[in-house]
Amino acid sequence: MADLQRTVLYDLHIALGGKMVPFAGYEMPVQYPMGVLKEHLHTRAQAGLFDVSHMGQVILRPKSGNVADAALAFEQLMPVDVLGLAEGKQRYGLFTNDAGGILDDLMFANRGDHLFVVVNAACKGQDVAHMRAHLSDACEVEEITDRALVALQGPAAEAALARLVPGAAGMSFMQVAILPWEGSELWISRSGYTGEDGYEISVPDAQARAFCEALLAMEEVAPIGLGARDSLRLEAGMCLYGHDIDTTTSPVEANLTWAIQKARRAGGARAGGFPGAERILRELAEGPARRRVGLKPEGRAPMREGTQVFAATEGGEPIGTITSGGFGPSIEGPMAMAYLPSNLAEGATVYGDVRGKRLPAAIVPMPFLPNRYKR
């Protein structure tokens, strides 16, 4: 696999029997010998350890020394309330473009004197360039390249991590903390991409393998690959950038209006002032023409990404396309997301074209499986 990068945990993946595949320019484990289905179920029952070191870690350090200046600058790139985020807390964000589409989705945290940002692997080059281009007056944009990032997810995640880092147990959902382990600093957030309680942990490259091995030595912790990461996030109703959201979908169409806080909406303290504000504020006021919805296919046949969706069993043009779809091991059935006309209500039946047959699927609320965050 020429030209692919490796994370600092590559050798550990090989030692664990990981099946490596190309993903976002990296060689990453799609599964381990346990297999996707069991890895998924293990994460929901106990705790799964994921290498997400391919994701981008960026620090925005205000030149003035005042984090509010970094927050206000960052708000120029996102329809999100950054200034109102309390110290020690993390929030979901979205870079938008001038047309109101989504350039990437991300997590950011207020760490007192700076912001810490985590972006998708496939977008990190353009994201860093985007931040440097627009934020350099107010901030130093510092890409962190000497730290791994891992996620520990599942109901046993708290007990497992607390054995190494006792302070992690007291953190609440979307809280961040810097805690010591074996002489190094761990940057921890209580968040994830599975719908389970859990943590994302940034660890210095030099300690990354030892940290993972300390977790994997615990009975409840198993390594989990990208395959289960995808089925876990889909059951949790979460978007995958490049599939469920991209430059053509607005945050309102994507049903991510919860990520647009009051302060940035019409009538808010800092309304507008982000790329694509005209379209996004209009869609908030009037409703979008199409919206991302959950689909529950009847029967067992999965409806995959790219499946065309129709209003009736015969005739007519497609009314939308499935953007993610597969089998949910915990819900024991197929599930999908699609963009469909907003006038279709929850409970309505639509038809996915699976190998030339139009199979029924119901529009359902997401997540497909209730999340279990520690509030």
């Binding site: 599964q31 297999g35 996707v36 089998f327």
Partner: protein, 119 residues
């Protein structure tokens, strides 16, 4: 047992041929979550796509290994697709077919030849 290049196994049982996929194929597919079988009574030609298997990763087709007619399908594997991973060459057979010419099996790979093909 005889084998095709598409990783199907064929076992002669009286005047019918029982067809499934090999352990190697089921490992490559990953956890199977959906199996769609043909209707019994369907006449098929060699290489017709007659079954669909979906794993957690992707969909794949099973093609008719020979000309003939589907006489029976395994409802158990449709109800419990995980059988394809648990017992690919036993309980997870897909269909039984009557073939026009049983001697066509003679030209197919035996186990040693198949194992050589998959390395």
């Amino acid at each position: 047992m005889k084998y095709t290049e598409d990783h199907e196994w064929l076992r002669v049982d009286g005047d019918v041929v029982v067809v499934g996929i090999t352990a190697h194929a089921s490992e490559q597919l990953g956890d199977v979550v959906f199996v769609e079988l043909p209707e019994p009574g369907t006449s098929v030609s060699k290489d017709d796509e007659i079954c669909v298997i979906e794993s957690v990763k992707a969909a794949s087709d099973i093609r008719a290994p020979l000309d003939g007619e589907i006489v029976e399908v395994n409802a158990e594997v449709a109800d419990n697709p995980g059988l394809v991973n648990e017992d690919p060459s036993g309980k997870a057979w897909f269909f039984k077919m009557k073939v026009a010419d049983l001697s066509a099996l003679d030209a197919m790979m035996d186990e040693a030849a198949y194992n050589e093909m998959i390395g």
